[in-house]
Symmetry: C2
Subunit: 341 residues, 2 copies
DNA sequence: CTGAAAGCGCTAACAA
DNA sequence: TTGTTAGCGCTTTCAG
C-alpha cells in the first residue's frame, strides 16, 4: 500500500535500481529501449521519485524561497508573479515568506529555511548589509530592488526615475518638493531620497525629507499633515500606498490635488489609476524584475555553469502621468509651526 | 567545511548519535543533563538538523502548499497572510502556488508537490469535484471559499451576504438586478448566483445572470456594456475587480453611479474605498479564513489526534455600504442592439 | 537512560 | 549500457 520505490520498479522491470534511477535523472545514459520500458513499468506502478530522498543526496531541492517585506503591499504582486512563473518554467517550487516589515522575522525565517531551499530571492530586504553577506555565504541569493556590492541584484532604475519626477515637477513650475520617506531600513527609501535630492539640486529646486513613514495607506494621514505643515506644494511619497493615503487626507482637509498640491508615488500599483484623482507615479516592469531575478538565481543554483560574477541588472522605469500632478497655480500658504526634515 | 551532522555532534559530546537525535526530536527521552550538554555542543558547532534527511524518514516536512487561483487578485492577500501567519506560528513553511485561473496548471502543480508537502490549502479552487476528492485521498486538504461534501472547508457565508445585498438593493427601490458572473468553474460564482436568485425571488425582484467574465478590472468594460444592454439599474459583479472595471466603464459612458446604476462588488479589496465612487461591497474577515483553514490543515497533518470529521466552517460576511449604490431615481433607457446574456 | 545498528529512497562511483 | 554497492543524515527498533 505504500508508495512504490525504485526497488519495486526495478524488480518489476527486471533491471537494477540504478537503471531506474538513471531512466529518471539522466535519461541519456540509458538505452532508449530500456528507458522506455522502465518508464512504462514505473507509470503502471504509479511510481514517483521521492523528492526527500533525492534532496538528501544532492542537497538540492528544486525549491527557492522568496522573501517580501510585506505581502499585503500590492506592489509585490507582479514581482511575485514574475518570479513564480519563471520558477515554474524550470520546475522549481517557490516558497513565499512574508517578513511583515520586520528585519527580525525576515532573518529568522531565512535561517529556518536555509537548509531546505536551494537559494533566496530577497525583495526590498530590510536586513543590514552584514546579514545579507552572511546569508549569501550560505546560499545563492539575489536581491530585488536593493543593491549591495558583490551580490547579484535586479533593481528598477530609480535614479533616472527620480530625475524624471523632478523634471516633471519643475516643468510644472514647482520650486520645492517634499519627500515622504519610507522605512529607515529601506535601501530604496535612501536611494530615492538621494536621487531626488541630487536632481532637485541640479534643477535648482528645494527639497526636504519628512518621515520615516510606514508605507501604508493608513500612514498617509500623518504624512500629509506633516507635508502640509512644511508648506509643501509638491509631494513625492515613498510609494503609492502612502501617496494614496496622502491624497485621501488632503482631500479630507479640502486641499485640492493637484490644484493646490501635487502628489507623486512610486510603483504604479493597480489602485493608482482607480483613485480620484488618479495618481502620477513612477512605474516599471515589476514582473520583469521578478523574472530576471529568478533567472539569475536559477543560474547560480543549477550546476550548469558556475557564475562567479554578480550581475547587477538595472531595469528601466517609466513615469506614468495621471491627474495628481499639475502646475502651480496660486501659492498655498498653509504654513504652520516649524518642523525639521 | 561541510555542515556538521549528528555524527560530529555525537563525537564532540561523547555520546551516541541516537542520543543526539533524541535530544532534538524527543527531548523527554533524554536525561536533562545529557540533553543540555548535547544541545550546547550542537550550538557551538552550529549544527542544524538536516530537514531532508528528517523528511526521508518521517515522510513529513513541516511544509504545506497553498494554491490560489490568481495571485494578482488582491483579495487573496489577506487570505495568504492569515494562512502564512498561522503556519509560521507552528513553524510550518508555506509554499505558494499560483494557478493563474487555469485548472490544468492548478492540477499539475498540485501533483508535482504532492509528495513534497504535508498538505494542501486550496483557495477558490477551479478544479472539478472528482479532482479534489482524488487529491484529498493523497494528502490532507482544506478548501477555502469552496465547499464539497466530505472535505473540510472554510468559507465566508455568502448566502447570507447575498441576501443582504438584495435586501439593500430592494430597499433602495430597485426592481431588478443583473449579476455579472465569475468564471464558469468557480464554485463561488455559482453559489453567489443561486443565493442572489433565491433572495431576489423571495423579495419579488427580477434577476438575471450575464457572463461568465474573468474577474479582472480589464473585463469590466465588456461586463458593463452587457449589463447596460440588458437595461440594468442594479449590478452585482462577481468581485470587486470586475466591479471596479464596470464602474470605470460606466463613468466613461456617462452613466452615473449610483444615480443611474448601482454597483455592488464582493471581497472588499483595498482599492474598493479608494475608487470614485467608492464601492459598496460584501466584505468579510479574509485573514480569518486563511487562519482557520490553516488551523484545520495543521490539525490533520500533525499526528496529535486524528480528525475523521471534516469541519466545514462558515464565517460571517459584512455588507460594506459605500457610494456606488443609491436609490433608483429616473429610468435609464440606454438600450441598444439586442444582446444575449 | 543510552548505545549499536539497520534502514528510509535515491544517487554515484566503480566494475563489468 | 547496465549492475553492484556504498552511503547521504537522521530516526528507530532492539539491547544493554
Amino acid at each position: 500500500m505504500a508508495d512504490p520505490t525504485i526497488y519495486d520498479v526495478a524488480e518489476a522491470a527486471g533491471v537494477a535500481t540504478s537503471t531506474v534511477s538513471r531512466a529518471f535523472s539522466t535519461p541519456s545514459r540509458v538505452s532508449s529501449r530500456t528507458r522506455e520500458h522502465v518508464l512504462a513499468v514505473a507509470a503502471e506502478l504509479g511510481y514517483r521519485p521521492n523528492p526527500h530522498a533525492r534532496a538528501l543526496l544532492s542537497g538540492r531541492n528544486h525549491t527557492v524561497a522568496m522573501v517580501v517585506s510585506d505581502i499585503t503591499n500590492p506592489h509585490y504582486f507582479e514581482l511575485i508573479r514574475g518570479a513564480e512563473m519563471r520558477a515554474r518554467a524550470s520546475e522549481y517550487t517557490l516558497v513565499l515568506v512574508n517578513a511583515e516589515e520586520s528585519p527580525r522575522i525576515e532573518y529568522d525565517q531565512i535561517q529556518r529555511l536555509v537548509s531546505s531551499v536551494d537559494g533566496f530571492l530577497l525583495a526590498a530586504s530590510r536586513l543590514p548589509d552584514e546579514n545579507l553577506e552572511q546569508i549569501a555565504a550560505q546560499r545563492p541569493l539575489v536581491l530585488m530592488n536593493r543593491e549591495l556590492a558583490g551580490l547579484p541584484s535586479v533593481v528598477l532604475d530609480h535614479v533616472t526615475g527620480c530625475r524624471q519626477i523632478v523634471d516633471h515637477l519643475a516643468s510644472l513650475g514647482h520650486r520645492d518638493l517634499v519627500y515622504l520617506a519610507g522605512p529607515r531600513n529601506s535601501w530604496m527609501a535612501a536611494t530615492r531620497w538621494s536621487a531626488l535630492q541630487a536632481a532637485a539640486e541640479e534643477l535648482g529646486l528645494g527639497a526636504q525629507s519628512l518621515g520615516p513613514f510606514t508605507p501604508r495607506v493608513s500612514q498617509g494621514g500623518a504624512a500629509a499633515d506633516a507635508a502640509l505643515n512644511a508648506g509643501a506644494t509638491a509631494i513625492v511619497a515613498h510609494n503609492d500606498l502612502l501617496a494614496l493615503g496622502v491624497v485621501q487626507r488632503l482631500t479630507q482637509r479640502s486641499v485640492r490635488v493637484p490644484e493646490d498640491v501635487s502628489v507623486v508615488g512610486f510603483d504604479d500599483i493597480f489602485a493608482a489609476d482607480l483613485a480620484t484623482p488618479s495618481l502620477t507615479t513612477l512605474g516599471g516592469a515589476h514582473a520583469d524584475v521578478g523574472r530576471a531575478a529568478m533567472e539569475i538565481l536559477l543560474d547560480s543554483v543549477a550546476p550548469i555553469r558556475s557564475k562567479d560574477a554578480a550581475p547587477q541588472v538595472l531595469l528601466p522605469t517609466e513615469l506614468v502621468l495621471r491627474s495628481s500632478t499639475g502646475p502651480v497655480a496660486s501659492q498655498v500658504s498653509d504654513g504652520g509651526t516649524a518642523r525639521s526634515g
